[in-house]
Amino acid sequence: MASTVSVKGTQLATATSDDGSFKLKNVDANAVLEITGVSVQTAEVQVKGRGNIGTVITTSKITEDKEVVVNANTGYQTLKPNELNGSIAVVDNKTLNQQVGTNILNRLNGVTTGLLFSNKSNNNPESDLNLSIRGLSTINGPLNPVIVLDNFIYEGDIKNINPNDIESVSILKDAAATSIYGAKGGNSVIVITTKKGKYNQPLQVEFNSTLTVADKPDLFYPSQISSSDYIEAEQFLYKNGFYNDQVRFDWYYHTPFTPALQIFVDRNRGLITQQDSIAKINQLKTQDVRNDYNKYFYTNAVSQQYGINLRGGSNTNAYTLGINYDRNRGTLYDRFDKLNIHILNTFKPVKNLQLSVGAYYTNSTAISGRPSSVTLNGKNVPYIQLTDSNGNPAAVAQNYSSSYTDTIGGGNLLNWNYYPLDDYKHNQLKTTIEEINANLALSYKIINGLDLDIRYQYERQTSDAIRNADIESFYTRNLVNQFSQIDYSTGNINYIVPANGIQMRYNEVLNSQNFRSQLNFNKQWQKNAVLAIAGFEIRQITNKGFSNSVYGYNEDPLYSAKIDYANQYPTLPFGSLSNIPGSPNLSATVNRYVSAYSNASYIFKNRYSLSGSVRKDGANIFGVNTNDKWKPLWSAGAGWEISGENFYRVKMMPYLRLRASYGFSGNVDPSRSALPIANYFNNPTTNLPYTRIQTLNNPDLRWEQSRQINFGLDFRSARDVISGTFEYYLKKGSDLYGLTYYDYTTWGYASQITKNVAGMSGKGIDLRLESKNFDKKFKWITDLLWSFNKSKVTHYYTDAALNGSSLLGSSGLTITPVVGKPLYAIAAYKWEGLNDQGDPQGLLDGKKSTDYYAMSANVDKNGLINNEGVVFIGPATPVVFGSLINTFSWKKFSASVNISYKLGYYFKKSTFSYYNLFYNGGTTADFSNRWQKPGDENKTNIPAMVYTRYPQFSARDAFFAASEINVLKGDHIRLEYINISYEIRQHENKEHKPGLRIYANISNLGILWRANKEMIDPDFPYSIPAPKTYAIGLQATF
């Protein structure tokens, strides 16, 4: 990095060359030279008459990072802001450290535009990060952005990366930035850059420690039917004969009774008196199992983070050593401990050659904790008791009723009860992840301005999950009992499953290898500058899985038993034949990519810049036709620093730069195949093996394509009072995977197949404004992040996608493609209130209707458009979102407050359902507001309770659940975190003065305002919101 050397008190100055050397003539012998630069601390050197002043060591600026220009790392090259025509946001170290979470991605929440964390669900394992950048670019493809660690795509578990090792994160948003990732970059790219030592830097040691404590989760947040209401419903069902079959055929089904049902039955059989029955029922009505959960299962989560990082370098060597250790206890007493070691060594063995060797090592152990809830044979019964009257662990019936489990086998079987309070001690899952990410890089300067970079990365992550269910665990006892063969004459038991512990193992090995060879060209002459790279890459990712179970397992002395997986054995209670579960299972996948790419930019007069990139990928998951074709993904961009022009005279705004870009990137689903996929069977007629192709080959299968146009404006007012970036973008996804009707002349097996036919479009604005409200001793800086994003499906070819019926009753949590509508959207039945019978009413043929089948058929047939019976409500993801960060500092104190907002969308609340109540146990507390007598329809919207034989019972429930009254506006404002820090001592490397900073952070402070009146957190409509966390920590540098 070039610095400026000037003679203090004169106009005499020069710039240093790349290697830092400089010449100055006519310097006074007593002069003082001042060395300044954007990334170095200003240094002064007294000339003292010397002709050669030797080596001056300057220190990197790290503390006053607002002044530091943070370069964007694309994973392929590092770019200065004026070299960027695309959209790249950089989150620097200081911002990353405002939050204290152990997951690096979570620290990006609320500090950058366009990035949104969601609560959506998706089956695709490539979508598990649950975050999107600038909305979506795909319908059925993976949603995860590409995560790059330093130079290569990171395939391991994101939790492995320790935030303390991270220097900065670059978020590549538009196609000009991501098209260098070719077929993978469509969902944007997050480049994580680790801390690295630099040449000529004295040893710097950073020590960091944080302690975080979280509140207990609020179990009473989700709406839940009260115990007395639940029992009332059970009583109603009992009287109507709902349980008759279960009771009468208990000797055959052995389905467990709930405690209340048991009391009703006992009373009916005359086994208990009426007073007893009433007393027992009343006792149950006072029970709430959530109190027991709170008492026995939940705790305050505690997280401890320790880290030390050593960095430094000489003339020819730069080194980094980071060691981090985290200890976490979760809300359910689950444990997660992690050790990270980061080593990087870069040296210059000979002139023009730089070698770098590094490794990132992770070792983590997770141990399961206590259950989050207990069900009675799969039913959520609100009054379950976890302890008996003496306070001992109580049994909660699981698969079979106790009348069966207590008597079968005449006392010879193992205890068949499930004790939730005890069971977790005997059934524990321990997951160990070990990862090594090793790098080798060689950089050779061929001639001035032309470098050859060769890099290789080897990544291996092994994940070993071991579940030990000892003989005391319900899992093991249940399995042993099921497979027990009882000789009733002798009382002997023949154990098919040994009556001993069971160990279940799931092992997964991920291996990725990357090789890259790249030429970097960098030349400046007169007013021109050219920056170019070109290279090729090979990547291979393999995944191997193995699972099996060890029976008769005993740890010390170690032994196990042999088991017969091959044959089927009769099982209790029904005698059905079954295999012993857990036979060895293997899986293996290989993904291979071959790519060539190039990227060049030309800058004229430091004001005009033109850039372009091109990349071609081949992959073994693409069809042959795709791999054979030369159809590259490309981008182009231009930038213009208007403020550099002579005609530009706006003093208020001394910096103004315009940029525009256009380009394409791709998205790949590694689980798809271009090959025909067959299954093998045996033909019972001929007894010959036969092959049936069940997925059609598609030699044209290719990546999904995402086009993005981006316009950007960067500005800074005088004295940097206001600065910011405004960006407007248009997205278009084409060739997206989608179901479509096709010409089945080829293959008459199905009329629809998935191919590259679907399309979507999106547009949005990202605005970031930074305002220095006060910049004296007291500083107040406000950052406003404002993002707008809208998307819609443009091409999809199934009937449901064309008429929109699939949106009806959608929870908005999954992508439901409907042409012309947002990817996540909600539609609902028109609500016409309850009738005088307490039945919900919709609209059919212009009249109020309770014909739920007909209303459903009407939507299937006529769709959403011009259909008075349905309303399209709107998008289910925020259209406008962002945050407001206020940072105050005074002397050594600083504090920041982050308030986030999400606006312009809807969510569906957890809806009351009789079906759930009757068949699955719990439902919402709305039960108490239900219609009970004529006239109630004027006060409530909750339908009357009807027995399941009621006509259209389940359709009535489904209609209610999908009606507009259950859809609420999602808009809300949330206080995300407050961060306070106190700089006891500022670190100044030059003088080897240690620095010390202490800080505190409170996160998840809750909602400040919400549009819905029902006090529902729209981010957590169905689950418990993340509890508040409190953290304190210290950071020392010396």
Binding site: S517, I693, N697, N698, T746, W747, Y749, S751
Partner: protein, 456 residues
């Protein structure tokens, strides 16, 4: 600069290595992404495609033609109970219908053939595997030709030498890649393709196959005989029916069959069956649970003709068919059998003026159908036209509801037979005059939409 010269060759070396590297990419990228995915690649796996009787033999061949033909009728009460599509089919008025139909069922085996033929190109034929290799290729070619012929009976005009070059045939699909668009071939191209596939298959297949669910040389000859007969090319039809009967000429003596049974005939072990297929059940007007056999047709059986009891059961005033070689109530046989071959050869002899031979073949078959307690009255027609009519009449009586009648009406009307199927429903009479454009049945509307092909 001095040191860099030493390394400059590295750069050149890279420039050489990069292109080589990309050439070898193709191989690198051929690796199967998921080891648990099974992509049929070996001869055994390809053979397995043809062992899949569920898709290749059972309920596959077209039934729209049979439902449009005249061997049956629907009483008003049954008609009223039917959904709209079958009602329209009954009076030849159906214009638009969608997936799961003759087209999809008929082209599904073609996919297996095409995929097999493409994959075979990657398996070298060696002395060790040539036996199996030839068989698999033969299966593929036969299956494709067989499916094409059945489809063209439905969807193409009957072969008429004068206009065959321009008449629209069916789609001759020869690739498993659905990205290749479907186009309709001419009737002539359609038939030429069927003939060349079947002739090549005949060179590759064993004379008879291990089971009748798999094609054989006899099946190929049978298919060629059918093909040429439906083209009214009697020389070739004669040649191939003879070749077929040379390989297999067993007939089932109906005297040994328990004709009173509800299911009189067996399927795979029926000695007459050369290649076994069933009609699909997408078109059901003609199925015995709906349809009664045409009364005139039923009246045409002699009292001593065992088919009169073996093929029909009395139900509520009329007769329902029960004579399928499928060993069940529902499915109808559409495969190739020796009885059909005797009738083809007999007709060809007669058409070519060899009346004695024609009568000999007819009598050979009819003897097996005659009650052996009664002396068999030898048929001995000496007038060519009468002989042909006699043979055609026996043909219809023998091969009813076997997926053949529709094609017979079409080809015989080309020769001027003037057969006019007639329906009476709701007191109204509907007819289908000879050579009406509706003899080429409508192609599914979703196929028309997705391909832009010309509708019939």
């Amino acid at each position: 600069m001095q040191t860099s010269n030493k390394f400059l060759p590295l750069y050149i070396w890279l420039a050489v290595i990069v292109p080589i590297f990309f050439l070898s990419c193709k191989k690198y990228l051929e690796k199967k992404p998921d080891s648990s995915l099974t992509v049929p690649k070996t001869l055994d796996e390809l053979q397995g495609l043809f062992n899949d009787a569920q898709l290749m033999n059972f309920q596959v061949t077209p039934s729209f033609g049979e439902t449009s033909a005249d061997d049956y009728f629907l009483p008003q009460s049954t008609y009223d109970y039917l959904p709209t599509e079958p009602q329209q089919q009954y009076i030849w008025a159906l214009k638009s219908y969608k997936f799961a139909n003759d087209w999809s069922a008929g082209y599904l085996p073609v996919y297996n053939s095409n995929y097999t033929l493409e994959t075979l190109k990657e398996i070298s034929r060696t002395p060790a595997n040539q036996n199996q290799w030839d068989k698999v290729k033969g299966y593929a070619l036969f299956t494709r030709a067989y499916s094409f012929l059945n489809l063209s009976w439905d969807y193409a005009k009957s072969y008429n030498k004068a206009t065959a070059e321009t008449d629209l045939g069916i789609v001759i699909r020869t690739t498993s890649d659905f990205n290749t668009p479907s186009k309709r071939a001419s009737v002539n191209e359609t038939y030429q393709h069927i003939i060349s596939d079947a002739e090549e298959a005949a060179q590759l297949l064993p004379e008879l196959s291990a089971n009748v669910l798999l094609p054989s040389k006899a099946a190929c000859y049978g298919l060629l005989a059918r093909t040429f007969l439906s083209m009214n090319e009697f020389d070739s039809a004669l040649k191939y029916s003879s070749l077929c009967l040379d390989l297999k000429s067993d007939l089932l003596d109906y005297n040994g069959v328990s004709l009173d049974s509800d299911i009189p005939f067996s399927n795979f072990d029926n000695p007459e069956v050369i290649y076994y297929t069933e009609m699909n059940t997408y078109n059901t007007d003609h199925y015995p649970f709906n349809a009664y056999v045409d009364s005139t047709l039923y009246a045409g059986y002699d009292e001593n003709d065992l088919r009169k009891t073996g093929f029909f059961r009395f139900d509520n005033g009329y007769y329902r068919f029960k004579g399928a070689y499928t060993a069940d109530y529902i499915n109808l046989f559409s495969g190739i059998a020796t009885d059909e071959m005797f009738l083809v050869r007999s007709e060809c002899y007669a058409r070519l003026g060899m009346l004695e031979k024609a009568m000999a073949d007819l009598n050979t078959l009819m003897k097996e159908r005659w009650n052996n307690n009664v002396p068999y009255p030898e048929i001995n027609e000496t007038d060519k036209a009468t002989a042909i009519n006699k043979i055609l009449s026996e043909r219809r009586k023998e091969l009813l509801l076997r997926g053949i009648r529709w094609s017979d009406i079409k080809r015989l009307n080309i020769l001027g037979a003037n057969i006019t199927p007639t329906r009476i429903i709701n007191g109204q009479t509907y007819t289908l005059p000879p050579n009406d454009s509706r003899y080429a049945l409508p192609i599914p509307i979703d196929i028309i939409t997705s391909t832009g092909m010309v509708q019939n």
